[in-house]
């Protein structure tokens, strides 16, 4: 009789013990994970081609999953008051600044002097520069481009990662060459598309200061059957070198209206507002 | 009706193939309208033969014809009903669904089927449980259903594998009655069994198989008659004669003043009677002892 009474107490007790064990372990493991850098997980990802074949016919889904990961990774690591990890990101930023004190940032606008393609003076306006070149998040999202590269290799027709990496990430980090490479890849994989050459035109004009390539890309954009009318006007304006301030505003407005992505839309709208000041 | 010619079935199994012969050079012919009992010990080759007839397995050698058609053709089985030794049925179906399915496999038109199912279920006493799923059926019920499905296409040839196993005495009686009823309708019945008493009651012809060989075959009566008959002679005789009688007939049994002597044949009967009368005995009875099937069977087995 006594034995069964003890048993009635022991079984629930043991169960509770195990539950507490799991719970404590979970909480502590979470803390450890948070402190660790998330980058490590991404380093071990195989390259795009391998992932493509490993998808066994489910490339779209694998690309989507990686894409979601990219966005989350980006969101987690940028300096933005809305970011719940803001404090941690700020910490990282400080540590990074310490280690890179003596390095020269190649893409800062000080290096932009006259370009061989006779770019208009307007492009070098300091206010404009400060709007377009926001290097706040530089070094915080080093794996974003490798991730986006993989996404676009697995699903080359998935348009938005190209634009995200080519425009949005560019504006937050200033990695011009990587952005251009990604957009060029997108153009190659989607020759019928108008949006990517449109963005390329923007980047070539206002970041790379290469008028020739900007015009070439806009012409490519126009050739596409789905291209909206305002692009033609934009091309004309650039070619005739009329009112570049307006050109920029038109360009940006074009992006704001044509893109369906909320993130980019908001970003461009904010930029436009700052321009008007 | 059914003709088996030189049926041989060998199995080779194991990594280094070892050949086992299940049936060897079996020749058999069943006439229309007869009830044939196929008898043998377990593992003698009865089930193998039946499986070969029904194209469940293919013979290593030999051919089989059902109603003149080669048994490998599907037409051969159109008028054949089969009762397996175990009820291997889909347990997710109800009895009605199962019989319907079976009937459709025989190519029966849908219009005929419902009536047929109803009458068959009544015949085997399952009409009340027609809508139960088979997984809920008892062993006896499944056995009866098995019989119903064997009759659904109004077969000319019925092949039954150990049909009486597991039936209670009442069931066996009902079964025998149905078989005899079918016999009256000129149906051919081929069944295997090791319950010899039942075979004795219903079979016209009997075949005995042992270790794959058909060792004996013939009409039941002939089989039983051609065997040596024992005769039991009972005499009343004075006990003083006993020692001498014992020398002459060593298998003598005596009790009180009665003596029982078994003689191997009718011929000897007269001799013994004369002998005993000479010694002053009185004849009480002479009983010829016909061997029953079981004894024949055991003898055949021992012989081979």
């Amino acid at each position: 009789m006594v034995k069964s009474k003890i048993q009635k107490i022991i079984w629930p007790l043991v169960s509770v013990l195990f539950v507490v064990l799991i719970w404590q372990a979970h909480v502590n493991l979470d803390k450890i994970r948070l402190n660790r850098s998330h980058q490590e997980e991404i380093v071990y990802l195989p390259d795009g081609e391998t992932l493509r074949w490993a998808s066994l016919g489910y490339q779209n889904v694998v690309a989507d999953i990686l894409w979601i990961q990219s966005v989350l990774y980006f969101g987690r690591n940028i300096l933005d008051e809305d970011n719940p990890y803001y404090e941690q990101v700020l910490e990282r930023k400080k540590r990074l600044a310490e280690s890179e004190k003596d390095k020269i940032h190649p893409a800062s606008f000080q290096h932009v002097t006259s370009s061989p393609n006779s770019c208009p003076e307007f492009v070098f306006d300091s206010k404009l520069q400060s709007l377009l070149f926001n290097f706040e998040n530089r070094g915080l999202v080093n794996y974003i481009y490798p991730l986006l590269d993989r996404v676009t290799t697995i699903d080359p027709h998935f348009k938005y990662p190209y634009i995200f990496g080519g425009m949005y990430v560019l504006m937050e980090t200033g990695e011009i060459d990587k952005a251009v490479a990604l957009l060029e890849k997108g153009k190659k994989n989607n020759p019928e598309d108008w949006e990517i050459p449109y963005y390329l035109g923007f980047v070539y004009l206002f970041y790379k200061h290469n008028l020739k390539l900007a015009i070439e890309n806009l012409k490519t954009a126009i050739r596409s059957p789905q291209c909206p009318g305002f692009v033609l006007n934009l091309l004309a304006a650039i070619s005739k070198k009329i009112d570049y301030q307006q050109t920029l505003i038109s360009y940006l407005k074009g992006i704001a209206n044509s893109t369906t992505d909320k993130l980019l839309k908001n970003k461009i709208r904010k930029t436009l507002e700052k321009l008007k000041e | 009706m059914l003709r088996i010619e030189n049926l041989t079935k060998t199995y080779s199994s194991g990594f280094i193939p070892r050949r086992t012969t299940a049936v060897c050079n079996l020749n058999l012919e069943i006439e229309k309208g007869e009830v044939f009992a196929f008898l043998g010990a377990n593992g003698a080759g009865k089930t193998t033969t039946i499986k070969a007839i029904l194209n469940i397995i293919s013979p290593t050698e030999g051919r089989i014809w059902i109603m003149g058609i080669d048994n490998r053709q599907k037409e051969a089985r159109r008028k054949v009903g089969f009762l397996p030794d175990q009820p291997y049925f889909y347990d997710y179906l109800t009895a009605k669904e199962f019989l319907f399915f079976t009937a459709r496999l025989y190519g029966m038109p849908k219009t005929e089927i419902s009536e047929k199912i109803y009458s068959l279920l009544e015949l085997v006493g399952l009409h009340e449980d027609a809508y139960l799923h088979l997984r809920k059926y008892s062993r006896g019920m499944l056995q009866r259903l098995a019989f119903a499905q064997a009759l659904i296409n109004d077969p000319e040839l019925l092949i039954l594998d150990e049909p009486m196993t597991g039936l209670d005495p009442l069931g066996r009686k009902q079964f025998r009655d149905i078989i005899l009823g079918l016999k009256e309708r000129k149906k051919t019945i081929f069944f295997s069994s090791h319950i010899l008493s039942d075979a004795e009651l219903i079979a016209d012809r009997v075949g005995i198989i042992n270790k794959g060989h058909l060792v004996n075959i013939g009409k039941l009566d002939d089989l039983l008659e051609t065997q040596i008959q024992e005769v039991e002679i009972t005499f009343q005789i004075n006990n003083s004669q006993l020692p001498e009688l014992k020398k002459q007939y060593p298998n003598l049994i005596s009790r009180d003043s009665k003596v029982l002597i078994k003689v191997p044949s009718e011929q000897h009967t007269m001799e013994v009677i004369r002998e005993l009368e000479t010694r002053g005995g009185h004849l009480i009875s002479v009983i010829p002892h016909k061997r029953n099937l079981e004894e024949i069977f055991v003898e055949e087995i021992k012989r081979s």
Binding site: G57, V61, I68 | L54, I56, I57, R77
Partner: protein, 254 residues
């Protein structure tokens, strides 16, 4: 034809199988996914919904196909219920074809319900029904048909475990077919090349049934692609059922 009798019975058997509740999980999954990315742009939400929806349809369909397909013939033989089929005036090939037809009919119902579910959630999201997905769904179904034929083929002579393994292996190889082709060009060893060539031509190229990217991104499909893919699938199903019937015809049932 007798096969239809068996098909109807197999349909009855498989549709009652509890694994059919997968449709429920599919519905929950699809709705869940769409809710997960509800903060994003409608265009992206739609893309992710369609991608995940079609992939889930394919995976669930294939899993059921394999799970039930490998037991299709094997179970009949093990449980001896096959006696009730083989002893009837019906050819062995009719049994194989009948069981196959029954199962693909069940899967068809499954895929249909999942499609309706996907269309419904997509409609709620985008405001219109995306009928363009239909060719992709059709080819998902054809791929499943081929995989079931593979599973049925293995089921005629080997145990479920090995059948499942072999079927999955062939599924993987089938999707890696384009890489095989690449290897063919790079390897010089003739014997190895011959083997690879053999595998490349023998194993069905399952990538031909994958037009999900094209459909979701609204890219144009080459002319007659759908028909050729259909013929390809039906061709393989035919060959596999033929070989299965041949094996089954000669088989001694215990």
């Amino acid at each position: 034809m007798k096969s239809f009798v068996i098909a109807a019975n197999t349909f009855r058997e498989t549709i009652r199988n509890r694994i059919m509740y997968n449709i429920l999980f599919f519905a929950i999954f699809v709705i869940g996914v769409s809710l997960l990315v509800s903060d994003w742009s409608i265009h992206q939400q739609a893309k992710i919904l369609k991608d995940f929806g079609l992939a889930a349809m394919s995976i669930f369909g294939l899993l059921i196909a394999i799970f039930i397909g490998i037991r299709l013939i094997y179970q009949e033989i093990e449980k001896r219920t096959i006696y009730m089929l083989v002893t009837k005036p019906i050819a062995r090939w009719e049994i194989i074809v009948g069981k196959y037809l029954g199962l693909i009919l069940t899967i068809a119902v499954n895929v249909l319900v999942m499609s309706l579910c996907l269309f419904a959630v997509d409609y709620l999201l985008e405001g219109f029904v995306n009928w363009e997905l239909t060719p992709a769904i059709l080819l998902i179904y054809v791929e499943i048909m081929v995989v079931i034929a593979l599973a049925t083929f293995f089921s005629t002579f080997t145990s479920p475990m090995i059948s499942a393994l072999l079927t999955i292996c062939l599924f993987v190889v089938g999707h890696l077919s384009p890489i095989l082709k690449l290897f063919l060009h790079t390897h010089t060893n003739t014997i190895f090349k011959l083997i690879l060539q053999g595998i490349y031509y023998a194993v069905p190229n399952l990538e031909y049934f994958n037009i999900r990217t094209a459909v979701v991104e609204s890219l144009p499909l080459p002319h007659h692609f759908l028909f050729y893919a259909l013929f390809y699938g039906i061709g393989y199903v035919g060959i596999l059922l033929l070989i299965s019937s041949f094996i089954f015809r000669r088989k001694d049932l215990k």
